[in-house]
Amino acid sequence: MSNLFDHKGAVGKGYSQPKPLLPAHSISLPENLTRKQAARWPRLSEPEMVRHYTWLSKRNFGIDTGFYPLGSCTMKHNPRINEVIAQLPGIAEIHPHQPEHHIQGLLSIFHEMQEMLEICAGMDQVTLQPVAGAQGEFTAVRCIQEYFKSRGETERTKVLVPDSAHGTNPASAAMAGFEVVEIPSREDGRIDLDAIRAAVDDQTAVMMITNPNTLGLFEPEISQVAEIVHAAGGQMYYDGANFNAILGITSPGLMGFDAVHYNLHKTFSQPHGGGGPGSGPIGVKNHLAEFLPGPIVKKRPIMVGEEAHAIDDLWYGWYQPAKSIGKVQQWHGNAGAVVRSWAFYRRFGNGLRTMSQHAVLNANYLRHAIFREAKKAGVDDMFCDGAPTTVVKHEFTLSLQPAKEKYGISAMDVAKGLLDKGYMAPTVYFPLVVPECMMIEPTETESKEVLDAFAEHFVEVLQVDAETLHAAPVTTPVRRVDEVYAARNLCLRHPYEEE
């Protein structure tokens, strides 16, 4: 049984429920409000349901299944204690409209996370409300937009974005109503200061950058970028997707940024869940703090009568920033993700620096091992660094352009070949500035043995002939999926027989 809709149990099948408090016939709705045709849902007993989803799960690849070097996504291990904590009634059974004295414990965790994120990024105030990285970006550029409005600088309508940026950067800026100006990178993949100098003017509102950049390279001239943008009156925005490389080593604040978003589902191990949920808090410098979405958590010493509910003689309360842009999520953000990330943070504490060092150590080691194995096998002519460098940060790019030219083997072919070796494929064809790009991020939670084995398998794939690789993968639940067919013959729901 491979399709949920093949389950056609008897009417009334499903998990058992108590009786209603009054007989069903006591409900009388007018005709126009009454449902006439029941949803054509399948009917499953619990054993059937459990088997269906177990079967599906076996057709899915997660970090738990194997090495997941998906660049830009920071697929690190998700500690299981985080899941246990997130299901405690003190978070799972909390309603965001409960009064402050009901949720002092949760608010203290929120406050601890705000402070920790402020310290790590060198920012003055964090809000935990945005629920994903893209929403964090959007929230931050909205705050900057209102900041400029409050200063009468309404002509600042342009957002500068490097051509190597994540797609969400320009999309978020455009959604907030900004005009997006793309800044070309230098030949070596780094920021071109002259291009930025040429692009900034009195219409510049924000420059959005991620550092390390999407090639996994640290932008050494980041301070000069900040100087140029600030001199033109603009603000610096840090895309925190690549934050995992630098905790405790440097910070967006030290680099000269005014605002930053964090991806708790990358850096702080909130599980990706097959596409979400995430959590995308933002941090800002003081001049932007009053524009943040509210409420945020502040603490103060307790007052008389609060002892019974308080934690460690402190009171945690909601605070509304005075010039707030309003809300981006109706409640208080993805509180469950914040609690999971809190458990992760507690695991490392000030050792978050060690975590980042190991993320960088693993990326450099894997890059080294791939080149080492390729040389041994004599296939080091098939790829090169996506950009010239001596060291990389948490991830690196390879260009398969030589393999494409010499043997007709594309980055996608190698990706599919790696699936057959039992790995998740690295990110391919991003960033767009590297031809036949493969972007590899091992994270700090992979052992040296895994990295060595991957390097060997990577090189084995390169030695496979083009024709065989074009046909890969062959060991996966399905083989290459026809995405063009999917788009031309749209089938977005189960086709019922009667239709």
Partner: protein, 475 residues
């Protein structure tokens, strides 16, 4: 900058012991560095200019072991008042419904939990198929042909529906860049809508309601010629409003009718697709997910054909592989940010897939009759609560004779704020103070029941409301 000191790799003894369970290469740094021809971890960071290096370590607490973390979590979160420990009538958009055990068991499988967005379909068939099934379940539930695999929450789903309506209808609209939203809508939700709409220069106007809480159909004609109209069914004060089923006829073909739903209600209440809704959105949470402090939730988004190519979010299509075998993949990606960048229909990337999966699993277990039964349990509990509270002479139920799904307004003889404090002192989370939404309704309390509400709890609430309001009348 002078006196720069670089951070050397030197984990303290405690650090090694604590973090060794998360960092497999702890203690093997020199071996790995040596193989790269390096001698110091710091050489890996030689590209970071000295003047922007952190001078000292992070001023954060020391690492903790798992056992210490769980102890602290129990201490802090155990200090919270969980709704399961109280008698609760708090809802107002999020609902404490039972989630079957099998749902938690199944989403805990690491293959689902620890996967990324299914960019490599060959090894992501499980989640892709589960989401394609989710699209079908939701499409059947709301009566529209297309559903995406979730937006962040109900508020971002409604906001994205409004901007989508402008993309689709603005060219022909006589009221360009204008949308209408029910004036009863929660101000927090309207705030989200405003943030999403302002960038496109979209103006949000309010749609009026009658004194009895129903939509003012006569003034709704003003919305004809705008791009979209947003209403909720049940509405924010719990009413099932028959007027909403006539709205599409009034606003016409070229104005999108967007209906926000409480999905469980659709086990009894007509699917909005059947009365002309062009888009259906809402908080998916009551199907499959705990409230979790207000997130993660999942925003549902469904629409009819004309909106398909301009809608936000990811969508799964059924396709074939090279052998002609059924296979699933993400499709219509050219709408999305990773392809279309600043011309994308939305900036959304990470969504709420895992929570949507919980929804799919709950729907699969319920079946059509199970959903109907669940809705009936909500509605009969609401009927019973209305009956019991209507017997109290000192309080009023302004919409007593209207149809409700699972919440209704009580008008108190004093401030709702004071009443809630009194109930709290007696172990009851008494409901939602509606003055937070409608500032002049200081005496309005929104009472919510769910499938978890017991008859004794309603009796208890009635007894305490009678006591409190008798005192309030005297005062």
């Amino acid at each position: 900058m002078t006196g720069t000191r670089t951070v050397r790799y030197a984990p303290r003894r405690g650090e090694v012991i604590i973090m060794v369970d998360q960092l497999p290469n702890l203690g093997r740094e020199q071996e790995m560095l040596a193989e790269m021809g390096l001698s110091d971890m710091d050489e890996l960071f030689s590209d970071i200019p000295a003047q922007i290096r952190m001078q000292d370590g992070l001023p954060l607490r020391d690492p903790q072991s798992e056992e210490e973390i769980i102890a602290d979590a129990n201490r802090l979160l155990g200090n919270n008042v969980a709704l399961c420990d109280r008698v609760s009538f708090l809802g107002a958009g999020l609902y404490r419904n039972y989630v079957p055990a099998a749902v938690f068991a199944m989403i805990s499988r690491g293959e689902f939990l620890t996967a990324y967005t299914p960019y490599q379909p060959e090894v992501s068939q499980g989640m892709l198929q589960a989401m394609w099934e989710f699209q079908t379940l939701l499409s059947e539930l709301v009566g529209l042909p297309i559903a995406n695999l979730s937006l962040y929450d109900g508020s971002s789903a409604s906001a994205e529906a409004l901007t989508c309506s402008v993309r689709v209808h603005n060219r022909k609209a006589t009221q360009k860049n204008v949308v209408y939203v029910s004036q009863l809508t929660s101000p927090d939700k309207i705030s989200v809508m405003q943030n999403y709409c302002q960038g496109g220069g979209i103006e949000i106007r309010m749609l009026k309601h009658n004194q009895d809480g129903t939509i003012d159909l006569e003034s709704a004609i003003e919305a004809a010629g705008s791009c979209g109209v947003y209403v909720e069914q049940p509405n924010p004060i719990g009413l099932l409003d028959g007027g909403i089923t006539q709205l599409k006829e009034i606003i016409g073909k070229n104005t999108a009718l967007i209906v926000g739903v409480q999905p469980v209600s659709l086990g009894v209440v007509e699917a909005p697709g059947k009365y002309g809704a062009d888009m259906v959105v809402g908080e998916g949470q009551p199907l499959g997910s705990p409230i979790t402090g207000g997130g993660p939730l999942y925003g549902i988004f469904a629409c009819s054909q004309p909106y398909l190519r301009l809608m936000p979010g990811r969508i799964v299509g059924r396709s074939i592989d090279v052998d002609g075998k059924v296979a699933y993949c993400l499709t219509l990606s050219t709408r999305e940010q990773h392809i279309r960048r600043h011309r994308a229909t939305s900036n959304i990337c990470t969504n709420e897939t895992l929570i949507a999966l919980m929804g799919a699993m709950h729907m699969a277990l319920l079946g059509p009759e199970g959903l109907n039964h669940l809705a009936v349990r909500n509605m009969t509990a609401c009927l019973l609560a209305k009956q019991k509270l209507s017997e109290i002479q000192t309080i009023a139920i302004p919409h007593l004779h209207s149809n409700h799904f699972n919440e209704f307004v009580v008008e108190l003889p004093g401030k709702a704020m004071d009443c809630l404090a009194y109930l709290d002192g007696n172990g009851i989370v008494g409901g939602f103070n509606l003055s937070a939404w409608y500032p002049n309704r200081t005496n309005w309390l929104l009472i919510t029941v769910t499938d978890q509400t017991k008859a004794e709890e309603i009796e208890l609430l009635a007894a305490h409301l009678a006591l409190w309001s008798a005192k309030a009348v005297m005062a």
